[in-house]
Point group: D2
Chain length 340, copies 4
Amino acid sequence: MIIYNFKNDYSEGAHPNILKAINNTNYRQEEGYGEDYFCNLAKKNILELIDYPEADVHFVSGGTQANLIVISSLLKPYESVIAAETGHIATHEAGAIEATGHKINTVSSKNGKLYPKDIKAQVEYHSDEHMVKPGMVYISNSTELGTVYTKKELQDLYEICKQYDLYLFMDGARLAPALTSQANDLSLKDIAHLSDVFYIGATKNGALLGEAIVINNKNLQKNFRYMMKQHGALLAKGRIFGIQFIELFKNDLFFELARHANTMAMRLAKGIQDAGFEFFTEAVSNQIFPILPNDLIKRLSEKFGFYVWAPFDEKNSVIRLVTSWATKEEMVDKFIEEIK
Amino acid sequence: MIIYNFKNDYSEGAHPNILKAINNTNYRQEEGYGEDYFCNLAKKNILELIDYPEADVHFVSGGTQANLIVISSLLKPYESVIAAETGHIATHEAGAIEATGHKINTVSSKNGKLYPKDIKAQVEYHSDEHMVKPGMVYISNSTELGTVYTKKELQDLYEICKQYDLYLFMDGARLAPALTSQANDLSLKDIAHLSDVFYIGATKNGALLGEAIVINNKNLQKNFRYMMKQHGALLAKGRIFGIQFIELFKNDLFFELARHANTMAMRLAKGIQDAGFEFFTEAVSNQIFPILPNDLIKRLSEKFGFYVWAPFDEKNSVIRLVTSWATKEEMVDKFIEEIK
Amino acid sequence: MIIYNFKNDYSEGAHPNILKAINNTNYRQEEGYGEDYFCNLAKKNILELIDYPEADVHFVSGGTQANLIVISSLLKPYESVIAAETGHIATHEAGAIEATGHKINTVSSKNGKLYPKDIKAQVEYHSDEHMVKPGMVYISNSTELGTVYTKKELQDLYEICKQYDLYLFMDGARLAPALTSQANDLSLKDIAHLSDVFYIGATKNGALLGEAIVINNKNLQKNFRYMMKQHGALLAKGRIFGIQFIELFKNDLFFELARHANTMAMRLAKGIQDAGFEFFTEAVSNQIFPILPNDLIKRLSEKFGFYVWAPFDEKNSVIRLVTSWATKEEMVDKFIEEIK
Amino acid sequence: MIIYNFKNDYSEGAHPNILKAINNTNYRQEEGYGEDYFCNLAKKNILELIDYPEADVHFVSGGTQANLIVISSLLKPYESVIAAETGHIATHEAGAIEATGHKINTVSSKNGKLYPKDIKAQVEYHSDEHMVKPGMVYISNSTELGTVYTKKELQDLYEICKQYDLYLFMDGARLAPALTSQANDLSLKDIAHLSDVFYIGATKNGALLGEAIVINNKNLQKNFRYMMKQHGALLAKGRIFGIQFIELFKNDLFFELARHANTMAMRLAKGIQDAGFEFFTEAVSNQIFPILPNDLIKRLSEKFGFYVWAPFDEKNSVIRLVTSWATKEEMVDKFIEEIK
């Protein structure tokens, strides 16, 4: 019998403050499609938080939707997007980006991150009109392998992007765990100044649904709501995005929830390390990737939910453990107990 | 000062039963992306309700999303969809259908409905490979002009669709007000047998968000979730669809909410008629279209929210009034008071 | 037995000068994909002819290809193109424009032409992000109904396009018959100054295949070859475009061929008029649309090829007669003989 | 000064027989868009040649056009195509396949060929609806690296494709040099029985332009001309395809031209080998890839045209030499002379 599920950070519902706020505002009549009081207030709050008043903010219901709308909005038909081959858009979105007409130029990456040399190589390889023309770089922070970008790394990427006339887009489905990671030295404000567009994920950090797309580059802001409508992303009761983000950014709740998720992950990581096991990538956020013996994995899977990520060698595999705002210390300890 | 808004049926939040259920199930760990306990139960309930066990059910977050996924899923690249020129896909979805590559063949329609002769004319006009090939008929019930289809009308449409090898797709964003209209003689079960695919709208009938797509035609069911994922429609916390539909179909709530909306609309309509005014289309569901003098409209608009639909003649215009599960009799009466 | 075919202006092969030039240049080794000596020379010749040195010229193999590449190249994903409902892109390209993601906003038109009031109405109707945003106006000259634009009409259209921030694109598949029509007062140079992009059709005026796209608006020139490649329009032996256009613009051949086609059409028109019949649209170019009794049409169709365009009334129909550079006076006279 | 160009097999015009036939048929009035006498006869000839009467044949103007129409015609929106990373569709078509909405799953390949293990790995990797679903395998014969498939290799590929419900599509832009290679044991008839669709390239084997798409799989034949029209591939004077293919398949000309190209390539290869150099891939068709010292390459490039394919090591690079039906022995010998 499964006693706890470490499969992902969206197994539970929403933080109680959010549910309470949805309840309390329920009978207020509001404009539809994100033009309501709550969305406007949430946008204002976000602009203050990132200290970037000329940015634009839009809310959508999930990461794939954010990615496909942002990318197809920014690229010309013959332009491609450079991404790590582990990037969410490259593997886990059922061809959503290609369905909007754009090729993804993938770069092999051991830790899920992209570096300036990767960008340079891609730009130089695509030399004429018989090939696509790279127009954008997509990165995830935290990455799909739980790693995070440092300020220096982001600065270097942004610089080479500007040099090659590429937009830099950060997928922040798990931005909160990234920004509260022990390995992080970036702020939301930094990101707003070191990217053209990024989004702040809430679905995986305590909301029912919702990602806040922030468009820093003024040239990219025009008519974005047309793109959202065209892809079915304008919700009639868009107010639920506003209500949730207002709550998340009240009293630092957004970061507090991620800090809790990270603390639980670090506790798991320490237990696993103390038991003598290593990790596939550095364990610094709420997704960790220990390398465990296959028989132990089999045993663990009888009590805990998690994904087997990939075989490591003949006897060991990499598993993924994910913690969230809702993970209880007790369950972490039970898991550690099991592997001792 | 606006005392009440008749602009639409999504100005308020959700029915309290729904909010309660979201609260009560909040900490239960569930599978993501619509494969959870609640979605599975809601699907089962819907299949029973429509008495069509071999149908498939999928939940998405809005009407435009439902329309673009269904249509692009069913048509071949060179196929088009026939719709009334007032149809939602033809005018109010920012080119969402064309963005998936398909032309809409529009038919002019005074009451928002399509008839067999329209289908015949379109099929006959499109005669060879220099033109698109109609592959589907799209209808809305209730229509964008508040009218509803009778059983006979739907039977006739379905018959001609089968004759010409066209799929019949019913947009049910406002299916509940249609099925509870005084002019209706259709059941959910009838619709399941007289269409290839349809959806049951909940966003405009008491839910926070959610439309249940029902695929009756077995040939169209395969791999539909790939299409949903590709268009960003699989929500990580898909559970919220299941939770809401379970509540809506408990104790007939879904129909009760629509009956209330219709009752409010009929009360409005009677008041308007008693005051000596006529209607642009027959007032039979929760959207009504009275023809009012422009100066009265101006006066009304100081106290009530509503859309001016179109000019009628030099002195009069058509307005749209929409009621919902949340509309209070008191507000209806205040409106009527104002036009006497 | 059919003695002559007035179905279209592409029933024969190419003008002998063109075939001769293809022969004479056959063994010269050239760069592929339109970067050869001949294409470069032909482009230079065209720029001189239109007296617009800052324009760009590209060659493609047909009208549908030209239309889909130009339109998808210029529009943003949510933008639409305004066209007459008789426009080639609207009816006879199998959804080629929609396949690139764009809606066509059609305007009903009796003579195949668009007027400023049509543009104004379309722009005003499309008021917000729930609808597409018109981004371009598409016109054909000559139109699909054989009519031609005057300089004043084009000036007025171009002016309103600039006013509303719309591109103006002229489909010139039959530009040569337009410019040599008795009703014409436009020059190639005028068109280059009164449009953002247009093309000069050769397929229907004596070439084997080939349309020369001229991009006047400098903002639209960048990376156009990527769009051509992506749509399969860069031919390995692109030289054949250059060779043909060089011949066509030598000694005024291009206009001479069209003048012949028009002369043949006017001779046909006069014969038909003299026999007492009227025309559906003004007969001014190489496509004419007489209204003939159905029994005469039946009789004519035993000896001549042509399309029955549409029924006119119970006893009469509109037919389309097309002449070309290759039409012989003798065949025209035989047709006239038949209707006397 | 460049005395000869080995850059590609489309530097010259067309075989004289073809030009003569275009001349001789010039004034015959024919139906447009590929429905003429010549296209019908050429199709009949091809069906006899491949001994597969139930196949369908269509003509298009180039390889990218053939690839994008075939692939987008056969795949459902969420399906992908598996290709070698050197495959033409993967690198040199400016994102043409993605522009129709489909992802390419690339497989790394040293010799340009795909093997059953590659297919298996791709199918197994793509496990659920969060990823695309492979629907087709794309191979080129000869490949972009000059190699060719044996009958056994093709049988094995076709078998695994059928096992996994994948279509097998062979890009035959250079099919003639493949089928006349010393390494070949396949016939056109074999290919018709061991693929679902393939095409016979003529542009690179003596025609002005033209590829003959052969659809063997009857389930894939329906409405293909709609797809062609939608992508601008139906040429008004489609007759030129028919005329050319009739000539090419008269008296074995098609194979004779390729045999000549291959003989020239083998002569080049022997000269290069005799001079002590090796090849990046096996030299068996009209594209060969010798590894030469960089200083020799520099010297050669002053007299001959060719592409430097890739650096091999610090001092050597791989170059590509291509011969054609028009390559003269004398030029080959001059090249060999230069490297001795």
